[in-house]
């Protein structure tokens, strides 16, 4: 079979690209062996699709190409599966992810399959172009091109984290009567004196100060606020039990300055770790706003 080398090389590259990207989202969405198996297999299908695309183009089998493109649209289903799965698990989380975060994760899973397709497509194209230099050179060139493509695409897909758009610093927790006040922003009403004491003793709080108008608009998204609460809580651990609503991590916004404050009682009192956790929370794709790209937004910026 004339194209066997190309197809094997390209499929392998696409699969490896998917595996590489699967490794990196360990924190975002803990995968278990089953989750890995599912995503690797879907990635394998994608890689194979990308791989056979080039031979069918060369052979001018345009009907085959159309079918392959149709098959690629199946990957949209991946997003639905991820979304419904995470939504079902939402009830089992002490601190909910929020629908915006779930949507973000689902999109990432869908997009990564397309990246695997692109990678195997690139590998197949390079492999066919270097055919006349011998099998070894062909394999080397195809794998190198695939590695470059996967690395580049992954780099392009990497979104900013909270630490990139905002300054994060520790802040004070105090009480105004029963009202929890964090960095000058009133939070919730904590009724029980014992709970108030625990907040003062064990609580940690940060201010998230947006660097510009864009960041301010992005941080004003409720889904983003929930994502910060969920991720910070999942990274440093949370001191709460089912039904202990007074210890729920709290993110509030200061309407004056647009800064966010977050307060929680971590399972271990470590301010450094908490700051690190908050700054590593990803900025949700769906939360990003760019008012500075509009005339009105720039006018607001000059005034402020």
């Amino acid at each position: 079979m004339r194209y066997l080398t190309t197809i094997v090389l390209a499929t392998f590259s696409g699969l490896m690209a998917r595996l590489y990207m699967l490794r990196r989202d360990y924190r975002q969405y803990p995968s278990y062996p089953q989750g890995w198996a599912i995503h690797l297999f879907i990635g394998f299908i994608g890689a194979l699709l990308g791989a056979v695309m080039i031979p069918s183009l060369i052979e001018a089998e345009y009907a085959a190409v159309s079918f392959l493109l149709m098959a690629a649209s199946q990957f949209r289903e991946v997003r639905n599966i991820e979304r419904s799965g995470l939504e079902k698990l939402e009830k089992t989380e002490l601190v909910a992810r929020g629908t915006a975060y779930i949507e973000g994760i689902a999109r990432v899973f869908e997009a990564r399959n397309y990246l695997a397709i692109w990678t195997s497509f690139t590998a197949a194209a390079v492999s066919e172009m270097t055919l006349r230099f011998g099998t070894l050179a062909q394999a080397g060139a195809a794998l190198a091109a695939a590695a470059a493509a996967a690395g580049l695409l992954n780099q392009l897909m990497r979104g900013p984290s909270i630490g990139d758009i905002a300054d994060i610093k520790p802040t004070e927790i105090s009480f105004d009567g029963p009202i929890l006040v964090v960095g000058g922003v009133s939070g919730m009403n904590v009724g029980l004196p014992a709970a108030r004491e625990r907040y003062l003793k064990q609580g940690v709080a940060v201010e998230i100060i947006p660097r510009d108008v864009d960041a301010k608009a992005t941080l004003a998204n409720i889904g983003q606020m929930q994502a910060i609460a969920h991720d910070a809580a999942s990274m440093v651990g949370v001191y709460m039990d089912v039904g202990e609503q007074e210890y729920t991590p709290l993110v509030r916004r200061d309407p004056e300055s647009g800064k966010l404050v977050m307060v929680m009682i971590p399972s271990e009192d470590n301010q450094e770790a908490f700051l690190e956790a908050v700054s590593n929370v990803p900025v949700l794709e769906t939360a990003i706003r760019k008012p500075l790209r509009s005339v009105a937004g720039r006018m607001m910026d000059r005034r402020g």
Binding site: G177, V190, G191, A194, V242, G243, Q245
Partner: protein, 63 residues
Amino acid sequence: MDITPTNQILAVITTSRDRVGGSAPIFYADSVSELEQMAVYLSRIFMAAIHDLGNEVYIIVKH
């Protein structure tokens, strides 16, 4: 599916009988310490938060 009311006052606990009324269950306490104790018990039963209205009136609200 279990249905739980949220953002509703599930119970009111107070020391003074003339301050509260209405449809939510009202519990009376004789002292502030008893008030707090009752609030803790009720919040654990309802798995809800305790809020302090400042005038020795506590409410239990599920969020």
